[in-house]
């Protein structure tokens, strides 16, 4: 039993779950929704086991130099998928709206398939700069935050689709068809807000632990390098989103757009900075 076997099971589970959630939107069958949830949950269990096994394997391979599996692009992407499922399951437990899964599971599936197909899963020992417990705290908080933003983004897309249709057909009472299974725009707006409310303090904590680590390793907690700056940009966007809730005229459609822009900035912060810009962060050029 190796971690890569379980990562394959994970990828397959998320794929099956995604397909079933989409099938649910088309069929509205509660049985289909149940299967989608179970396969998604099974994928999550496999994902958890895979990460645990990889941790164990790092000790087998590197002896005392083994480490938590959160240190390169591959490991971060599979952890991102794990975080998305975790946040999604929390939200699903609270709101019980299976159609949301059709817009969230794709993020987890795309992450997994990308990691499996095109990223190196070699377990390398850590360069000195990464040998710090701060790394673990930093990665966990950042990625849980990112995952919450992914859920918010999925829900915002649903919101924009639904509100567009609702406004076009304002005269025809209850919207039928596929959009009928979507939660009401009010609930979508609420999930968007709740997810960002979870993500924002986590992102804050992620930036703080990153700053603490930088200070411990180099003596500067903030140096305006592109990665740091982009995390701050993301923070600004979501802070704007949260304050927009208090003013009229900024809820609904504009809030949904802010949430989508925020997630785009998040993805750029996570991947774009390394792949497009240059900087200090370690998994550049991967």
């Amino acid at each position: 039993m190796t971690s890569s076997l379980f990562f394959n099971i994970t990828t397959f589970g998320y794929f099956a779950s995604m397909v079933m959630f989409i099938a649910y939107v088309a069929t509205r069958s509660n049985a289909v929704a149940m299967i989608a949830r179970v396969t998604g949950g099974a994928g999550f269990v496999a994902n958890t086991i895979a990460i645990g096994l990889r941790w164990y394997e790092s000790y087998q391979l590197l002896g005392v130099d083994g480490r938590a599996p959160l240190t390169n692009l591959y490991e971060s992407v599979v952890f991102f998928a794990w975080s998305i499922l975790l946040v999604y399951m929390l939200i699903d437990f609270k709101y019980k709206q299976p159609s949301v899964g059709a817009f969230v599971l794709p993020f987890a599936f795309i992450s997994m398939i990308w990691a499996q197909l095109s990223l190196s899963n070699a377990i390398d020992p850590l360069v000195p700069a990464l040998q710090s417990n701060w790394l673990t705290y930093h990665v966990i908080t950042c990625f849980l935050g990112y995952a919450a933003f992914a859920v918010a983004c999925g829900v915002s897309i649903m919101y924009l689709i639904k509100i567009g249709k609702e406004e076009k057909h304002a005269d025809e009472s209850p919207i039928g068809g596929i959009l009928g299974v979507f939660p009401s725009t009010k609930v979508l707006d609420d999930i968007n807000y709740k997810a960002i409310m979870i993500g924002f303090p986590l992102l804050t904590l992620g930036i703080v632990t990153g700053a603490a680590w930088a200070n411990y390793a180099w003596g500067t907690y903030w140096s305006w390098d592109p990665k740091e700056t982009w995390s701050l940009i993301v923070w600004f966007v979501y802070a704007a989103f949260l304050h927009a809730r208090f003013t009229r005229g900024w809820v609904g459609r504009r809030a949904a757009w802010l949430s989508i822009i925020g997630f785009a900035a998040t993805i750029f912060c996570y991947l774009g900075v390394n792949l497009v810009l240059s900087g200090l962060h370690s998994y550049g050029g991967a």
């Binding site: 303090p201 305006w224 966007v237």
Partner: protein
């Protein structure tokens, strides 16, 4: 005229308090920050000109794009942002503080009639006694209430989570605290660097961007510097320096520092940052003059010409700790008396006879060598504001959790006489997360109804 002036002041004040300004400055900061991530910051003029051309470079300088996070306009947006935070807090804090100093012990008719969460009961029980029993129920189901008598009516009031009213203020204050810490670090701290060769010490460091060193007030000595690699690879595992702090002639601290484990003395912290060779390797070379059989034992430094009998000279030009798996090797060159350079050749420490086979006036043997001494490159930082920054971060995390995940929940119960019966009216509110509170309230309503029925 006076009226007009008032108007302008009011409007300016409202502008600085407004949430719209908050959203706009936040988005403005987000957008402008992108510039500095695309355009390299603090590079040399030549680099900018090579990349973007002369006229663009001049434009960048005019707009301060080459160091934009310290430009007047970026700092200006930050100042506007702080002014907004301060003004809105001054405006709204008194209202929040009122919840603590004068809690609404008595619910108004409006609250009782129009709250989303309300209930009404009636009972034959006498008000005073019922109020006591309801107070007991509330204490068990929620928290201990306060009883007030007013205008012949009895009022119970209970509240929880009042501190969450202050979450936003603590968060806002935390941003100012962090900025204060950053300013303290800039004004009273410095960033510097210093290279210390193994076995030497220094009492001075070089501040960044400055040509003159500054005194530390004590001495730092580096006893040893080591790089270790992961087995069988070129991947560095650790860089370590054995540092000793000497203050007033006394060794006060000894510590082996590495990346992620610095040394701090008197508020000044030394971080392992880089390393390199300090000087050259040295070699023990045995030279045999072929003709006479004379043997010379010499100690030479890499790159230096060493005289030999008859006006000749030689130098070690290169070495390898393990040359082609033959062990330590040195590359040598012999110069003729008229200064002509001979072809380079190799001698091996483990094969002393090897050079005998080479035709020449001298034959060489490598008897041993010492790696060049290393220097350790240290970042040196003094930042008396850093603890203020951490306090601010702590406040921000706790303040925002308080603001988002807790809410101020209040319950009022009003008992009065109506048509010979006791009327019990209940109202409740939460300033955040109302749906969850409504569910909790429905549960409490059942408890209250049961309490009333049990005696009625």
């Amino acid at each position: 005229m006076a009226h007009n002036q008032r108007n302008i002041i009011d409007r300016t004040w409202d502008f600085f308090c407004s949430l719209k300004l908050t959203i706009i400055t936040l988005l403005l900061l987000a957008i402008t920050s992108i510039i500095g991530t695309v355009l390299q910051q603090n590079a040399s003029p030549e680099e900018y000109i090579r990349e973007y051309g002369q006229s663009n470079y001049e434009l960048f300088v005019k707009l301060q794009f080459t160091d934009m996070y310290h430009s007047w306009w970026f700092v200006g947006i930050l100042a506007l942002f702080s002014a907004n935070l301060i003004c809105c807090s001054i405006k709204n804090f008194p209202r929040a503080w009122k919840f603590v100093t004068s809690p609404a012990l008595i619910a108004g008719e409006g609250t009782l009639k129009n709250s989303v969460n309300r209930a009404e009961f009636s009972s034959k029980e006498e008000p005073q006694q019922l109020a006591q029993r309801l107070a007991g129920t509330l204490e068990k189901a929620f928290t201990k209430p306060t009883l007030t008598e007013d205008d012949g009516k009895l009022h119970l009031f209970a509240q929880k989570g009042i501190y969450s009213r202050f979450g936003a203020y603590i968060t806002h204050l935390s941003i100012l605290v962090i900025m204060l810490g950053a300013i303290m670090g800039t004004v009273w701290g410095y960033k510097a660097y210093v290279n210390i060769a193994e076995g030497t010490s220094t009492a001075q460091v070089w501040p960044r961007g400055s040509q003159t060193p500054m005194d530390l007030g004590f001495e730092v000595r580096c006893d040893d510097f080591t790089v270790t690699y992961y087995d069988g690879t070129q991947r560095p595992k650790d860089y370590t320096s054995d540092l000793v702090v000497i203050d007033n002639g006394q060794e006060v601290i000894k510590k082996t520092i590495e990346v992620n484990d610095p040394l701090t003395y008197k508020g000044i912290t030394f971080y392992q940052s880089s390393y390199g060779p300090a000087g050259n390797a040295s070699f023990k070379v045995q030279v045999k003059v072929r003709e006479s059989g004379e043997v010379l034992n010499l100690r030479v430094v890499q790159g230096q010409n060493t005289p030999l009998p008859g006006g000749y000279a030689f130098a070690v030009t290169d070495y390898a700790p393990n040359y082609d798996r033959f062990g330590p090797a040195a590359q040598l060159r012999v110069n003729t008396p008229n200064g002509q350079q001979g072809a380079p050749f190799i001698v091996l420490q483990q094969f002393p006879q090897f050079d005998e086979k080479r035709a020449g006036i001298f034959s060489f043997t490598l008897a041993g060598y010492d790696e060049p001494p290393m220097y350790t490159g240290l970042s040196v930082a003094k930042d008396p504001g850093v603890w203020v920054v951490w306090v601010g971060c702590f406040m921000m995390v706790f303040g925002s959790c308080g603001a988002f995940f807790f809410s101020h929940r209040r319950i009022w119960i009003c008992l009065d006489e109506q048509n010979g019966k006791t009327r019990v009216r209940v109202a409740a509110s939460a300033h955040r997360n109302q749906p969850a509170f409504s569910m909790a309230f429905d549960e409490m309503k059942k408890d209250l109804a049961q309490t009333i029925e049990n005696k009625a």
